[in-house]
Amino acid sequence: MSEPENLLFTVDHEWVRVEGGTVIIGITDYAQEALGDIVFVQLPTPNDVVSANSTLSEVESTKSVSDIYAPVSGRVIKVNETLSTSPELMNSSPYGDGWIAVLEMSDEHELENLLTLEEYQKLIDN
């Protein structure tokens, strides 16, 4: 699976899809491949206000437990409840049904800190 166009990325292997003043976030295909079978997702709490790079949630695979960081600051307005019963969606559809949460951005300028597809591709190729 290749990384879809029109997304932004973080160095921690998360993707961000901007929709108006909100962002949908998830983990990249590279991340799910590296983590292996994902068995549990600690979902963010709706309405929580988070700052960029703070811990948003936690993903547990058969290999390890990893933090998911907020790519931008904002308020959690929606979480993907399906992941609590079907965490494997993050493996099978990282850019689709495996999305984690929707944040309402508090500062759209923070998007400038994120990586483009090309920059992210370079990161994982190294």
Binding site: G36, V39, F40, T62, S64, P87, E88
Partner: protein
């Protein structure tokens, strides 16, 4: 041939011989009214619990306990025993765990009647031998680690970590300092951040540099007035010695922080370098790992904590000590409570039989012998690292200490065979798997710790098996075999993801009965 088990047991070994048949649980062997022990008379009159215990605390329904004869009980557990892999059976190069062979003389010492037929509540005058034993062990442990005093109470490494951090906290409080953070490298053992959080501090991660060692500049950037200390294991989990440890120690002490030594990797450095001389203030040792107690699967362990001079007053108590002289000039032993003690952290004095084994091991080998233990552990690790490096290059290609982290990343890229597959296939060679996917900083990590107790021939057999797996991975047929492995072990490839996603942690007789009727 799948045989149906039945309640009442069957003292046969079919599950052992055909390999793959599940051993029933002890509950499934149960027959109502059967018992493994009965007392003709106890001399104690029977009194129903309702006469002495408040009714609110009594069960409404009978406790569903397995009822089996002694004969079936022994057969059940013996069959289970025969299905296990153990250090006594073969090589167990499980990195980070120091699964070395534990010599039997230590068991003999630990079962000596003079040590076992005794109770910790006896008067001190009647347990002088035990008190001398513990005081001697504390002295030897401090000699090995270069520290001033120690507590033997913690029951395992993780409890030792918590104890050490509580001592750190008590020290800062006593100094009138408010400290918040403990710095931990990204290659650290997972227990470190957990212990830090439990102690009320916040763990802060410092990244390793490209050489696998702590990035000193990054560390200095994190140190400030909020730093309570740093937790390190040296050699680190990559099996590499932190060469800048003296600079690290100066920097941490410079902001008033303390250095905590996670002694899980002590097997690499005994008699060669001491944590105290590196500048550490607090040291725990997983005594069971380095000093002759069989471990894995839940203990008992032991995690003594040694401290430098300035922390002596904070050690847990009561602790055994020489408190005077007998009329004949010999030492008299008793208990002391350090002045600012953080208190008791274990009932009585720790897991005592692990302490006996450790002292027996130290006395048997002596100082020079322990040094040789570490030297051979390091030599064995380097021999194996080099020998398998063509197919499984190490993350950091340099001299390692007692363990090393090889990587299956190259194999995966070329053949699709992952580290986990290599580990599973290795089981079919009668060799325990290495630790996989730890530390997290190495892709497809295979962490080997052969220990000093494996012979050159055994190391060769491990390497040959690994080569054979890499060779197998080159063909489609071979890859299929690897993906199915292990097929020869009592339990074959597990669906670990499904087990974790739909965890059933309790035994339900109705489900099990339905399952067995399908056999």
């Amino acid at each position: 041939m799948a045989q149906k088990f039945q309640p009442g047991g069957r003292a046969g070994s079919i599950p052992l011989m055909d390999g793959h048949q599940a051993e029933p649980t002890i509950f499934e062997l149960s027959v109502p009214g059967r018992s493994a022990a009965s007392f003709r008379t106890t001399g104690v009159p029977f009194s129903p619990p309702s006469g002495t215990i408040p009714s609110a605390l009594l069960r409404d329904i009978d406790l569903d306990m397995p009822e089996v004869s002694e004969r079936d009980l022994v057969a059940h557990f013996t069959r289970l025993t025969h299905r296990q892999f153990s250090v006594d059976l073969g090589a167990y190069p499980l990195g980070s765990c120091t699964m070395k062979y534990n010599p039997k003389f230590a068991d003999i010492a630990a079962t000596a009647q003079g040590l076992t037929n005794i109770h910790p509540c006896q008067p001190e005058s009647t347990i002088q031998g035990w008190l001398e034993l513990m005081t001697t062990l504390e002295h030897y442990f401090c000699e090995i680690t270069g520290m001033a005093g120690a507590t033997l109470q913690p029951a395992a490494g993780a409890q030792g970590e918590l104890t050490g951090l509580l001592i750190m906290k008590a020290y800062h409080k006593d100094q009138g300092r408010q400290r918040k953070n403990v710095i931990i490298p990204d290659s650290a053992h997972g227990t470190n951040p957990a212990s830090v959080t439990l102690s009320g501090y916040t763990p802060i991660t410092v990244k390793s540099g490209p050489d696998g060692l702590i990035d000193l500049t990054a560390l200095k950037g994190l140190l400030d007035e909020d730093t309570a200390g740093i937790m390190l294991t040296n050699p680190n989990t990559l099996g590499l010695f932190e060469r800048e440890i003296l600079e690290i120690s100066t920097a941490v002490h410079g902001v008033g922080g303390l250095l905590y030594y996670d002694g899980a990797n002590l097997n690499a450095v005994m008699g060669i370098v001491r944590p105290g001389d590196m500048g550490f203030d607090i040291v725990h040792s997983n005594l069971h790992k380095t000093f002759a107690t069989p471990h894995g699967g839940g203990g008992p362990g032991s995690g003594p904590v040694a401290v430098s001079n300035r922390l002596l007053d904070f050690l847990p108590g009561p602790k055994p000590a020489a408190i005077g002289e007998n009329p004949d000039g010999s030492k008299r032993f008793g208990f002391v409570i350090p002045e600012k003690s953080i208190g008791r952290i274990h009932s009585f004095h720790g897991n005592s039989m692990v302490l006996v084994r450790a002292l027996a091991y130290m006395m048997y080998y002596g100082g020079l012998g322990l040094t040789e233990v570490s030297q051979i552990a390091v030599l064995n690790a380097n021999w194996l690292r080099k020998r398998i490096s063509a197919a499984y290059p190490s993350a950091h290609d340099e001299i390692c200490m007692h363990e090393f982290v090889a990587s299956a990343a190259m194999l995966k890229k070329k053949t699709g065979i992952r580290g986990l597959d290599v580990a599973k296939k290795l089981l079919e060679f009668g060799i325990h798997a290495p630790t996989v996917y730890f530390p997290l900083v190495v892709e497809e990590a295979l962490m080997f710790e052969p220990t000093e107790t494996e012979s050159l021939q055994t190391l060769g057999a491990i390497a040959d098996a690994l080569d054979e797996i890499a060779e197998l991975a080159q063909s489609e047929e071979g890859r299929n075999a690897i993906h199915q492995a292990p097929t020869k072990t009592p339990v074959t490839r597990l669906d670990e993801a499904r087990a974790a996603r739909t965890l059933i942690s309790t035994f339900d007789a109705s489900i099990e009965t339905a399952r067995s009727s399908l056999n």
